[in-house]
Subunit: 79 residues, 2 copies
């Protein structure tokens, strides 16, 4: 896969981890609230997994943020 | 599929169309620059297709915008 895509999957994963921890959720908590398996969450957070927009939307809902926040890799943390 | 997901796929599609037109690109132009078939682009713009993050990243690169802009449904148009 091309570098810019690898880099962005990694940045997305790191942002997801940052926001999950900010909400004081474990991967299992996020699994329960989003319906996405925690093994997948771990791979996603390590930039090792391409996922669908629907999964991203579920994460955003579980984290009580706007979907765009998950792609704002260097942005502020939400209220 | 649940309503909030349907609504967001529709919002995403409308934003993609808005940004594509803002860049004066046809669906075929976007197909050529992103590698995503124009039939798929049409379904995506109509909120009828779930896609992968990698496809979104390719769209953002082709439109010369940040990926987060594609999820900023009511946001300003980029420079």
């Amino acid at each position: 896969m091309s570098n810019y895509i690898d880099d962005e999957l990694l940045a997305f994963g790191q942002r997801l981890r940052q926001l999950r921890k900010y909400r004081n959720l474990t991967q299992v908590d996020l699994e329960i609230s989003s319906g996405v398996g925690n093994a997948d969450i771990s791979r996603i957070e390590n930039g090792q997994k391409n996922i669908e927009i629907i999964t991203v939307i579920k994460f955003a809902k579980a984290l009580k943020i706007a979907t765009k926040d998950l792609f704002d890799y260097t942005g502020d943390l939400p209220e």
